[in-house]
């Protein structure tokens, strides 16, 4: 692939699609005093940009796959940010919720398409399955939300960690969903469009939620639970709600993940997965959705890049360097905690994700 034509294509698409959309959004946004048109059009612009690059082959299938993965991580990191960063409930079992979504939706579609490969409205069925996976995960979130009523900080972290492991172990032992072999033969329904839509929706819903009475209840609980209770906030309800909503979106992300890889495996949803998402939240900035987006993309790309480099080096030197990836992540987290405790963005948001009425 030549370097120059690629750059030209990028430029051309940018000036034809993205910038007009952005400026239209800007004008409409300023006229109506609302942020929605601007944000939606910006998202549409970015979507079309990547879509065109993908379909013209400028981004090959591998790059598109990593972009899809990144977007799934955006949804996972943003939803964990709601629980961890915005409501302040330390959760270490986020991948457990994703696993519930993945297995519920995966089992559903696999079964259906085994019975009848030419189901009418297959795509709608798939979307329904994803939503069902999200709902199942949200119910699980309610269940795990209850310990959070009694436990704080480290203790809650241990319970949620245990929850994630329980889910993984249960899946490992149900032969109906493949047991340790994993759930195989899930139809490939996830594509860039639906993954992008899901990631966008997750960000949008959480952003709007934060800027409402409900969101202020979440934030108040994070800041000082006793004071929140004595400001008339039903802290019990809001802590469980936060877990339910966060888990629901994680379930949707898990479902999309399973239908992207065409399989679901218990090891994908283990502790390391949850830590990965947690690193994204902390690297991006606790409470900042912009940070979660940036961190999800950069860490997913870094991870894939490292995989290539380390495997290459490993082959040359004949050492198992591939395993170094997790060491590098751990180092990264330590460095963030030492030198930039507040994460990349602190709790600031990009202008695009801010609402006109809030100045921070």
């Amino acid at each position: 692939m030549e370097y120059k034509p690629v750059l030209q294509t990028l430029k051309r698409i940018g000036s034809w699609i993205v910038f007009p959309l952005l400026s239209v959004g800007d004008i409409v946004g300023r006229k109506t005093g609302r942020n929605m048109p601007r944000l939606t059009l910006a998202a549409l612009g970015i979507y079309l940009y990547i879509y065109v690059l993908g379909s013209t082959g400028v981004f090959n299938g591998y790059v598109m796959h990593i972009i899809n993965l990144s977007l799934i991580y955006v949804a996972l990191a943003a939803s964990l940010n709601l629980i961890n960063g915005i409501t302040g409930q330390f959760s270490l079992g986020h991948m457990g919720f994703a696993a519930v979504g993945a297995y519920v939706s995966g089992t559903f579609t696999t079964l259906l398409f085994k019975l009848n490969p030419s189901v009418p409205g297959a795509y709608l069925v798939f979307v329904g399955a994803i939503v069902a996976g999200g709902v199942a995960a949200a119910l699980m979130g309610v269940l795990i939300g209850f310990p959070s009523l009694r436990l704080k900080g480290d203790y809650l972290a241990i319970v949620t960690l245990g929850f994630g492991e329980i889910i993984r172990t249960i899946l490992n032992n149900i032969s109906y969903v493949g047991g340790p072999r994993g759930l195989l033969g899930i139809p490939k329904f996830s594509n860039f469009t639906i993954i992008f839509a899901a990631a966008f929706l997750t960000i949008l819903v959480i952003r709007n939620l934060v800027h409402s009475s409900h969101g202020r209840a979440f934030l108040a609980i994070r800041e000082n639970e006793l004071a929140a209770e004595l400001a008339g906030i039903d802290t019990t309800r809001y802590k469980v709600l936060s877990f339910a909503i966060g888990a629901g979106f994680a379930g949707v992300a898990g479902g999309l993940f399973a239908h992207l890889l065409q399989m679901a495996h218990p090891t994908q949803y283990g502790f390391m997965g949850s830590v990965m998402v947690l690193i994204m939240v902390y690297a991006g900035g606790v409470g900042s959705l912009t940070g979660s987006i940036i961190a999800a993309f950069s860490l997913t790309f870094l991870s894939e890049g490292l995989r290539g480099v380390l495997d290459g080096l490993g082959e040359l030197t004949n050492l198992p360097l591939g395993d170094l990836r997790m060491v590098i992540y751990a180092l990264l987290l330590i460095l963030i905690m030492l030198f930039r405790t507040e994460g990349l963005m602190g709790n600031k948001e990009s202008k695009l994700l801010m609402l006109p009425e809030d100045k921070r």
Binding site: S213, G215, R216, L219, A220, E223, N224, E229, E357
Partner: protein, 258 residues
């Protein structure tokens, strides 16, 4: 005058320690009522019992004749008791305005869906909450700091912000836990005026704990003195100030080695 808050025979144990002992009193509607006593005499415990942070081992708490004993704190707040804390408990990384708006959350009616979709009903409600909150900040001279993060405010402003947040829940009874703690004389003067103004403008009954005698003697219309969980005196501030038992509790007995 009828009693707004009525405490009947309240007793509370921490393990074997009797923190509050068969405590009974009425706070009449519309007054500024002071509760004083040496350290460890059970003042803050009394507040924690009234606001439901602890459940009394024995006894009853009535707000305007309604039994609120043993209810959850947020329910007690909703039925009309607002409070501040001795050690500030501000939502420090939220904006000043959001501190107030958080306290108005329970009155908001928009559901999750309408909030997420930002429907017209939700937008109207947000606008109303914002206006109400700004008005409140105006009264407490905090309006120009509305968009600042609360943690950037000086100490005196934070004290006022806590009072504002308590008022935002629209209480009938306002509990102030040592509002003058850590204030300089000028700030204490302002606070005294503020408490009186708040009582008149918001039509609330004020019930305060204070160590600062000037505040208690200056603004309280009734005072109750507590020592080791029991009442040792009650009445008008000037009478209480002359009471022998009170002097003993604060200054020690005559002849005792200090």
């Amino acid at each position: 005058m009828s009693a707004l808050l009525s405490i009947q025979n309240m007793t509370h144990f921490f393990g074997g320690l009797k923190a509050v002992s068969e405590f009974s009193f009425d706070v009449p509607e519309g007054v500024i009522y002071g509760l004083i006593g040496p350290n460890g005499s059970g003042k803050t415990t009394t507040f924690n019992l009234i606001t439901g942070i602890y459940n009394p081992t024995q006894g009853k708490i009535l707000l305007d004749g309604k039994d609120i004993t043993g209810q959850k704190p947020y329910k007690i707040v909703r039925s009309g008791i607002g409070r501040t804390f001795q050690n500030l408990r501000i939502f420090s990384s939220m904006s000043v305005l959001d501190n107030i708006r958080a306290a108005k959350q329970y009155r908001a009616k928009s559901g999750l869906l309408s909030s997420v979709m930002r429907l017209p009903g939700f937008m109207a409600e947000e606008k109303r909450i914002r206006e109400e909150s700004m008005n409140l900040l105006e009264v407490l001279h905090l309006a120009d700091r509305a968009d600042d993060a609360a943690r950037n405010l000086p100490y005196g402003d934070l004290r006022r912000l806590e009072i504002a947040r308590a008022l935002a829940t629209q209480p009938r009874l306002l509990l102030l836990d040592e509002p003058a703690a850590g204030m300089n004389p000028k700030e204490v003067q302002d606070l005294m005026k503020l408490v009186q103004r708040v009582r008149d403008e918001f039509k609330v009954t004020v019930f305060l704990i204070e160590h600062h005698m000037k505040v208690v003697m200056g603004i309280c219309e009734r005072v109750k003195v507590l020592d080791f969980g029991t009442t040792i005196a009650e009445g008008k501030p000037e009478d209480v100030g002359r009471d022998a038992k009170v002097l003993e509790a604060y200054l020690g007995r005559k002849g005792a080695a200090c």
